[in-house]
């Protein structure tokens, strides 16, 4: 079992369900910790996010005022997430 791919799959499915609503970074991490057994490490979650971003599936935006990062799916990511269901 590859924990990184499980995390990536969950994040993609969850972002698709948000339908374009930006997901704050910290809440995304917490949801990933709650959704997977065994509870993933933060380093694994960070790696999953990095890989998804590098592959062009998700994009992060930093708020100008509070510098908090939020994530959304790219067009490529939406297409992929739809396949995952």
């Amino acid at each position: 079992m590859n924990p990184i791919s499980d995390i990536k799959r969950f994040l993609m499915r969850a972002l698709w369900r948000l339908n374009g609503l930006p997901w704050p970074d910290a809440l995304m991490d917490e949801a990933a910790r709650q959704a997977l057994v065994p509870r993933p490490l933060q380093s694994d979650i960070n790696q999953a996010k990095r890989e998804l971003e590098a592959a062009g599936f998700i994009q992060g935006t930093r708020d100008e005022l509070d510098e908090l990062v939020t994530w959304t799916l790219t067009d490529k990511g939406r297409h992929k997430a739809k396949q995952l269901g």
Partner: protein
């Protein structure tokens, strides 16, 4: 005879066999439940933001952002009490009601202003304030006679 059978029935009723508790949800089921919560929260937040329109006032925009974070936080927690999420979702209702009330008040003020302007125009027409001045009338007659 009937008394004995009644007694037997009552004894049996007192010693009821407890129902087996449902098995705990599997990790996959928990994940699906969490995803469903996230989907519900997402659609609710989108509905709220649509209700406030494209460009809400800055004070409302801040409130909407905070509200979104709260709802997403609660929805992303596996052990969230559904009542807690519903309670949080009901927090925005008074704000929505207030916003509708404000829109209705502004609309009423616009209608009153328009009515006031219409009445003023009617009053000035009756008083002949917009009638031609004698000097203007003379000028027009001079120009017409020149033609």
């Amino acid at each position: 005879m009937s008394e004995t059978s009644d007694k037997t029935t009552r004894t049996r009723a007192r010693h009821k066999v407890p129902r087996p508790s449902p098995p705990p949800p599997s990790p996959e089921e928990l994940q699906e439940q969490l995803l469903a919560q996230i989907a519900y929260a997402g659609s609710h937040c989108a509905e709220i933001e649509r209700a406030f329109g494209q460009n809400p006032p800055p004070r409302l925009e801040t409130l909407i952002k905070l509200y979104r974070v709260l709802i997403l936080k609660l929805s992303g927690e596996g052990q969230t009490n559904p009542d807690q999420l519903k309670l949080a979702m009901s927090l925005m209702k008074p704000v929505l009601d207030w916003e509708r009330f404000e829109d209705a008040r502004k609309e009423r003020e616009r209608a009153d202003e328009k009515e006031r302007q219409t009445q003023e125009a009617a009053r000035s027409r009756e008083a002949g304030e917009d009638a031609l001045r004698p000097e203007t009338l003379e000028q027009i007659e001079r120009e017409l006679s020149l033609l």
